[in-house]
Homo-oligomer: 419 residues x 2
């Protein structure tokens, strides 16, 4: 039976430390080189989509997809995303290989042309709400544009809505980034109440925009996945159709580097985005869109495909969680959330210890996501959060990496307690 570290004597802690250091040095001697830093699918997951490469056809609805044209995507691919996301095809624009680009370009558009009001670049200050911990690449976009980030604490059912409702009374608060299903990094899905409160927001800024990054919308780990309300069904009740811009992609469905993304928005927002697109491109890659449609056939085809991913991913999540359970629980040194989908496990260790855990792991050959990266400006004030990405390493390597991580967490906490 594990004992709470904070109740152990110095001597007990030192004995524990000695034992752990022996295990740690054994790992170090193995010369490992393992990577749990990014949410990269493993090679076996990528193999699931190799059929994409067999599709050589380039005509759809009588259109030669090799040539120019079709700014907002081929109709069949718009339909596929519309069916998957429960919206109308007219509210979908199919994008490039990364939804990140759709988000960056949208923020850039708000910066140069505004979102129905003044261009943001002309304002003295622009602020965004950032549920934390969150996705570092969202923060990178905001930092690039000099948009001030305000931390919003994540609860078990989504962002702290009391705080959100308070902050939006400030007119310079122009938006919020959300990963509403299987949030990055915790794997939390926003509750129905949270989604409703978001849809009902009455921000002081008329051009307040929520980037609804639904990156993990169909990424369940088993048949008991979370359900997320479709916010576009609710927004009209509050006249807030223009407040939310949703993005999705096949980055973690087919190939991360060569998938297809989509942006979903109100008629007004689609029109504004098309104005920009009309100057920015002639079309995105229609042949790749067609490959995806031919490969999946329809939304059911995509969902069936996701079950194959789940069969590969679930055991990997289980390995990490088993090690956490065995080595970290009952010691009062770490907390985590058991996600039902997504790509990450978020581990909160004793305050002031996360960076040290990262160092110890690195010295023994295991790379974690840069500690701090899950907070705006890389600044996790409590130095507590660690994002684990279990997808990329093969099972045997992951087993080693997760065990080593637990040893490092325990060692860092003992160091801290011994002072």
């Amino acid at each position: 039976m594990a004992k709470l570290y904070r109740e152990m004597t110095a001597e007990e802690l030192k004995n524990e430390q000695k034992e752990l250091l022996e295990r740690y040095n054994c790992f170090k001697a193995k010369g490992l080189k393992l990577d749990m830093s990014r949410g990269k699918p493993g090679a076996d997951q990528l193999d699931l989509s190799n059929g994409l490469n067999d599709i050589k056809d380039y005509v759809a609805d009588g259109v030669d997809l090799r040539n120019y044209g079709m700014l907002d995507g081929i109709p069949s691919c718009k339909r596929l995303f519309a069916d998957l996301m429960g919206v109308e095809a007219k509210n979908v624009i199919v994008g490039p290989n990364a939804s990140l680009t759709l988000m960056f370009d949208y923020i850039s558009q708000c910066f140069t042309h505004g979102a129905g009001d003044k261009a943001w670049c002309g304002l003295p200050e622009v602020k965004f709400l950032c549920p934390v911990p969150g996705y570092d690449r969202h923060f990178t976009i905001l930092e690039y544009f000099g948009i001030k980030m305000i931390n919003i604490e994540m609860k078990n059912d989504g962002p702290d809505m009391d705080a959100v409702e308070e902050y939006i009374n400030d007119e310079s608060v122009k938006g919020m980034f959300c990963v509403p299903k299987y949030s990055n990094p915790q794997g939390i899905t926003y509750s129905d109440e949270t989604v409703r409160r978001i849809a009902a927001l009455k921000p002081a800024a008329k051009d307040f925009r929520i980037i609804w990054d639904n990156a993990y919308c169909i990424h369940d780990l088993d048949d008991n996945g979370d359900e997320l309300l479709n916010i576009f069904d609710i927004l009209p009740q509050y006249g807030n159709e223009d407040m939310v811009v949703e993005v999705v992609s096949t980055s973690k469905v087919t190939f991360p580097g060569a998938g297809v993304s989509a942006i979903i928005a109100s008629d007004n927002n689609i029109a504004e985005i098309k104005k920009r697109l009309n100057a920015q491109t002639i079309s995105y890659d229609k042949m790749n869109q067609h490959r995806h449609v031919e490969f999946f056939k329809n939304a059911d085809g995509v969902r069936a495909h996701m079950k194959k991913h789940a069969a590969i991913l679930k055991p990997k999540f289980d390995i990490v969680l088993k090690h956490f359970q065995n080595e970290l629980s009952g010691r009062g040194i770490a907390e985590w959330f058991n996600p039902k989908g997504g790509y990450f496990i978020s581990l909160n260790v004793m305050e002031g210890c996360a960076k040290r855990v990262g160092e110890l792991c690195k010295s023994a050959g295991v790379t974690l996501t840069t500690v701090g990266a899950t907070y705006p400006y890389g600044n996790d004030e409590k130095d507590s959060n660690i994002r684990i990405a279990p997808s990329f390493p093969p099972v045997d390597e992951l087993n080693l990496a997760a065990e080593l991580l637990c040893i490092c967490v325990r060692l860092a906490c003992i160091e801290k307690l011994l002072g």
Copy 2:
């Protein structure tokens, strides 16, 4: 022997008109539907690259190209573009399927972050020099950002450099768009002297940027193609390395909708672009980059491929020019340039007649590029320039379209002269 229209009597003109109207009405009766509006390759040209679809391999230099990563492109594709363009691979970033996006994004970057000086969005006025006639999509980008466009007359050896050298003394003139080889629409290649004068410019604006859109760099119509000086070889003599940003693409080499583009720039500019890209994407489509490398093998492979395009395109250009020669020369109503490459023929008709030519063509079922589009704000003050795109229609259709166009030019000029 053709007679100058302006020297013909009203009666002679009316007889000519009667004859032409008979021919015109014959065409009209055919119910044609022909398109010479855009520089779209024909289906037979696209077929040349279908081998791209046979490439299923996804590993290069030991890297799994299906997954995330490699922000600036795969090394082999950077090398391919570097070899083609005579620059170092470190000065190449491989982009998405359209160089248009690279240009738009670069201007957007200057707008939000500047180019080594203040962000352009904070300035009271930003102006660009636009050689005219020019490429409408360049103008669309500038208009989207509210950048004021100043017309610069194109001479037979490039933009009027006296005018350019004068305008750049104005600090609010921040740049210029150039298509230096086989310019769109005239097919003029900048002379060595023009390139040298451009490289030697001393603009008042320290952040003056020339977008060197080398869209037709390898697009000769036969073995006697024009030679363009490599401006990057000359810029260092004047300390102007940062002044030029070049883009190229395979849009008219492989598939317009699914090709690969590249941006070529100085070390400083590449670093600034990468700062943005780091927030905007994780990587462009590496699998498509790899397909292109495997398909071409090397720069010689690309050049050999371009000869196949020339074999298809040259006869089409010849058809149009033959009709011009037969029907328009000697009448003092039209001038044109015989290009050695590129995608267009630029026809200047008697002032005040171009729009009417477009109308007459349209009524008989032939679509031309919107008359006026070759000028900023769609405003061809002389109403004279017509851009002909001979690539897309099959030879027999092109024959009809070119003959009809000549009839329409003659009719419009007669109408004008008869007043």
